[in-house]
Subunit: 427 residues, 4 copies
């Protein structure tokens, strides 16, 4: 089978790319205190010595900080992208220049090349895999089952990937231990509430040149992402309306002081709509014609199914890109509906997007790094299948961040611990 060559052998201007990529990675590392703390430990103790880490992630500056950390921990690392459009070639080149890292990731490659790059990573015979979407773990199971034996385990950090792994696991078809990084507290509490909340709003503002003050913002869904968007929008002096299908979440939103109503009712009142439900058909033909002229629609949920664009196109008499990243649909009555980023995740797909904030990835990648270390050092202890991240590891990452920020905790005295235990376990 043909596999890809490292990026540095394929692209031009390697030196310029190296310099540019290096600069980007340096910026990220400067603002990733958790990875910096782990770097001290990994460099000193080399916990990954002897391991080969195969990775398929979005290859950009923040990811690179994780890749370099793993190499500093003693691993040989082979990496490729998990999406042909998300790779930054300069970052890929800069990684490839590292003695213990080989990068196969290249922007804009076709489907065949994409899998050749994955196969090239697999050719390194990884003992640990790090995935974003699951393409690496699936490829190994399907095409290289003979390698499974020598793999200690892996990590996966996306909803989509975990969804696929869970299905495999249910079928008894997941043949090595995988950590579900996606659902661990240190990821979703901060990534969703703060990361998505802030970056969705900043991307909408910087795509539209509109202001939040005085806007009526309709937030569909009051899960972690929705409450992040709602809270941050209120914090920019918007008036927030929440829609929900779950009565307790609706009541929580109500008790926070948000208006809560149905999308049918909210449709005519919103200036900006942000969907965060994870479901499809949240804004549909039932709503577009009721909307104000000039309304802005954006999606901050996983897939581009929350705003039903097919319905919108059917209702439209005219459609044009009125601004980069903004598609304007003119309805029969002359009113205009503007959809950002084609209804894809606005904080990642807007034309000005920088991806997730650095600190958010610091936390997620911090969990990845300690999970990889756990596999290298205690991997024997885990059965094949999907595992939650052990609570102690998740807490360790929280502690690293607090230390880095110089934040002091109180510590339980023995008397206090005993008092609490008596309450929690019964007398």
């Amino acid at each position: 089978m043909e596999t890809a060559a490292p990026i540095s052998e394929r692209v031009s201007d390697v030196d310029a790319k190296h310099e540019s990529g290096r600069q980007k990675i340096d910026w990220a590392r400067e603002h990733m205190p958790i990875l910096s703390a782990l770097e001290d430990e990994f460099t000193a103790e080399r916990p990954l010595s002897g391991e080969v880490v195969g990775m398929a992630l979005h290859v950009e500056a923040k990811t690179a900080a994780l890749v370099e950390l793993l190499a500093e921990g003693g691993a040989e690392v082979a990496i490729t992208g998990c999406n042909p459009l998300s790779t930054h070639d300069d970052v890929s080149v800069a990684l490839d220049a590292h003695e213990n890292i080989t990068s196969y990731a290249e922007h804009g490659i076709d489907d065949t090349e994409y899998y050749e790059a994955i196969d090239a990573v697999i050719d390194h015979e990884p003992t640990i895999t790090v995935d974003d979407g699951g393409d690496l773990v699936f490829r190994i199971h399907e095409e290289y089952p003979e390698l499974v034996e020598s793999i200690i385990g892996g990590t996966e950090e996306t909803t989509t990937g975990v969804h696929r792994l869970r299905a495999m696991d249910a079928d008894g078809a997941l043949d090595y231990p995988m950590f579900n990084v996606n659902d661990t507290p240190m990821k979703h509490l901060f990534d969703n509430v703060h990361g998505t909340g802030e970056s969705a709003l900043a991307n909408i503002a910087m795509t539209t040149n509109l202001s939040w003050a005085g806007k009526t913002v309709v937030v569909a869904g009051f899960g972690y992402c929705g409450r992040g968007v709602a809270k941050k929008a209120r914090g920019q002096n918007a008036h927030v309306i929440v829609t929900e299908i779950d009565p307790r979440r609706a009541l929580e939103a109500h008790m926070e002081g948000y208006e809560v109503t149905s999308m049918d009712d909210a449709a005519e009142r919103g200036d900006v709509f942000v969907t965060t439900t994870g479901n499809r058909d949240v804004v549909t033909a039932d709503h577009f014609e009721d909307m104000k002229d000039g309304v802005v629609l954006a999606n901050a949920g996983h897939f581009d199914v929350e705003i039903n664009l097919e319905d919108l196109r059917n209702l439209s008499v005219n459609e044009r890109e009125v601004r980069e990243g903004v598609q304007e649909y003119e309805l029969a009555d002359g009113s205009r509906v503007n959809v950002l980023a084609e209804g894809r995740l606005v904080n990642l797909a807007s034309p000005v997007s920088l991806g997730h904030p650095v600190e958010v990835m610091d936390q997620s990648f911090g969990v990845q790094a300690v999970c990889v270390r756990e596999l290298a050092t205690h991997g024997d202890g885990y059965d094949d299948g999907l595992h939650d991240v052990p609570d102690a590891l998740d807490r360790e990452v929280a502690e690293l961040k607090l230390d880095a920020e110089g934040i002091e905790l109180d510590e339980l005295t023995d008397v206090q611990r005993e008092y609490m235990d008596s309450w929690q376990h019964g007398t």
Copy 2:
């Protein structure tokens, strides 16, 4: 065994008390939309017909609304207090005037009389018990085991009571089904965050005549109560410092924009301290001498052990009640430390306290009422022991509140439901 007589036969000025109690109950019912909605249902369908409900609760206006609701649902109700100091005699008399209610609760009775009142309730041979602290369920198990057979089940809504029930259950000594109302979402999400948060602050303000704007408020603990207090204090323009022992909670507080530090460090910076940890010795001899002159200490956690008053007394050269509900301790260096409500739960024990807000009790009692209905109608389905409130019942109460407030929810279409299911359960 001697049992108590109904309150109306024991106290003077029954008519005046009746009128005063009636007025208090009317106010509560006017502001309890969940109980009002259930009243319509219970009056029409009489789901409790034939049941005898024995109750031991704080007998005041809000509780009375629950008691009357159960009677309207067809039950015969016998009630007494769960604490001799929390009974309002006028409310007790007004309840006792109801055809299907007998009230034995009286303020200020001694220990013997307290148990005679409980025994009087048990004499009614309840088929369902409703507890606040567990005294009724324990008395039945200890003194009247022969009655257990005919009891369908019961409910308990306090941390203390659940703690005791959990111990009994672990010993196999809980002989009928009990619902744990204390830990159900509809209780703790709203009661702790909003109820405790708001009432702690209002009680502190109305006891001290001090303002929040510009104050540095140290909140010990960032659980549900702590985040309620922190959020509401910030909402009054205080500067909030949080102390924690748990790294993830500390990080959550930090990411909300609060300062987070140790109590040792916070001690010298706070103007007001509010403890919400549920633990003991949170503020101790290590801290008092560092505090600003005139500092105010209040506790919003369960017990009066969070502020170590013994330590404080040992350090003091002088102690006086400087204001109703405010004890001032003068330290050797002349600085003064003010403790509210003797370190007991400030929102319930301050001299101006009205107890929990009406709406909070509406939610808690709403859950109680549907649990009692569940026992009366489907009690056979539950084994002996402690049970979580069934999720459907908890959600029903949320829906009743939303209906009462006129809040509309969206409803899942079949296509949406299918889409979600495919995600949650794997394809």
Copy 3:
């Protein structure tokens, strides 16, 4: 003319009153850092030596701190109340015990006695007057014009008093200099926004036992008081609707993220209404019948004319005090409207009211004290008539507060000062 005797000669239980009053004053002084800082200065420098200060103020603990400060500054002080219902006899007795203070204030005296007390103060032949409402300055002008000559000047701190003084001044009938403390930044920026905002909400909560979370609160007027109430209500997780007559204020409220609409529209949506307009007939017959059952109305504006109670009575079929401080009006359709504190200023007139927060009065009285000092030391420099508080004095009080709180300011360098000057005055 008959004048009153000092309070200590008129009331019983002088010793007990003294002790109780002393305790109240001590609490206030402990929390009035501006007056404490001035106390250090006044005690050392005695700037009021030789002056006689005549005062007519609400005689309660916070006022007493000002009175004692003036005495410590070297003045002989004579004081009486400015409203027969606001005097605390114990505080009055405690003041009267001071060597250089004579207090004539007594609770519940009739109109004749009220003026006899004022006359008793005037009998001391004050050289400086301190007023709250203007009764002292008017009495002097009307009945004792011969004393005007020897009066250096005075201060007045209420809207009502300033209103009357302005009219006198316009008629050329104000015969000595008066400082308008009411409109100085250090008073209205903090008193109205924070003092009124916080205390209105706390008094409403502690009178009704209701919670703010999820409530729709209609705030009539978006002046200083209105924005304080709106901001603090949002900070307790209420949903806030603002009504206004002024387009720019309305737009400011809108840009803060509040809903803005007419009272006609808001009437049916609010759970709680708080009027802060300073105008009459803000809530009238046009609105009561549209309101929700159980609605709560409170006034935080100067006079009891904002809620039109005559209209409400005309529409009612029944009226009763449903709770202390809460009058319930039942309309023909059975819905109930609850009015707090008879529509008077809810933060001062509610049954649980403690008056303005201590810190707010510290600022107002701080300005009073430096104004009195200014009159004693530079009184010659002011013409007869109403004067704004000199900006330097107002700023001095701000600086005293910052010093007391340990807050550091930056200081302009010469280069910076020159840079700013070049901008402000043109090159």
Copy 4:
């Protein structure tokens, strides 16, 4: 004297530029409700018929909406840029295509060409001038004094321009009436608080890829801009520290719950610094060495003098552009200080900047438009010199915005008006 030709005669690809410019203008107009409302009026009534409006403004989409509005009002319009770097050629071309508009603005022209373009505008013999910085009004006074006679008046909307006009006016050298649009409430209340606040934060986030949650943000200055930045940063869950030189502003910040301290003290605590003082040398050599490694500095005040870059360069051992728009300075101890947009106004000068939000310019340009109308219709009534915008015009713009948003105001009844008058003017 040589003057410039219209842009369409100078640039290539006119058709493509026209289309692109048209699209940008359409987007702006879609979101400028005040200008839209005025368009209806201006189109119907043609109040500017017969006038020639000469303009020197930043020629981009939002400005274009104003230009077209004036043309629709009947004016002949000639426009050029007020800064060679701020012109969007496509917008300039699209404007130039309008029958009654001639645009001379071109991006990147040199100083000579810049003044040739201004002279070309003056060649149209404007009867009204609209300025942004004052270049047009000064050029006319200096080079074309003979035209002054026929000019009705003009408007100016920047701090810099007003500063220069004020100096001219003080010298008696301003020979026609000018409206000071910069200091009118509808501009500064919203532009500074909301416009600057939101766009500074969004630009910092989108330049750095950093998150606000948990950051310590030091805001220098608590004027309109500073309180906007502080409020919005807190609204993104940052911890905000304010520095000030003015005691009352410092106290206001303190009472809002912000930490207030000196820059010396804040230097070592901040993660991000935003200067908004309007003064120079706010962050200097005294501070850089105390700062955390990786700190981010941005300026949101007028000029690039607030962060002293000369000091910073002197302390640095290394300097590089670590990211587009981010200059990293490495100090002797290895710590890194990052300066955004070279210390220029970050919301306008960052690489991702879109300029002021559309709605903010809608308000400012709304005031410009009604001022131009006022000059055309009542210009005789104004003396030569600098004038405040008449309050009625400023209010009219507020009303237009409220109407456009569908926001209802209450209206004073005669009785209410009389009541208020009696208070405001004395009885």
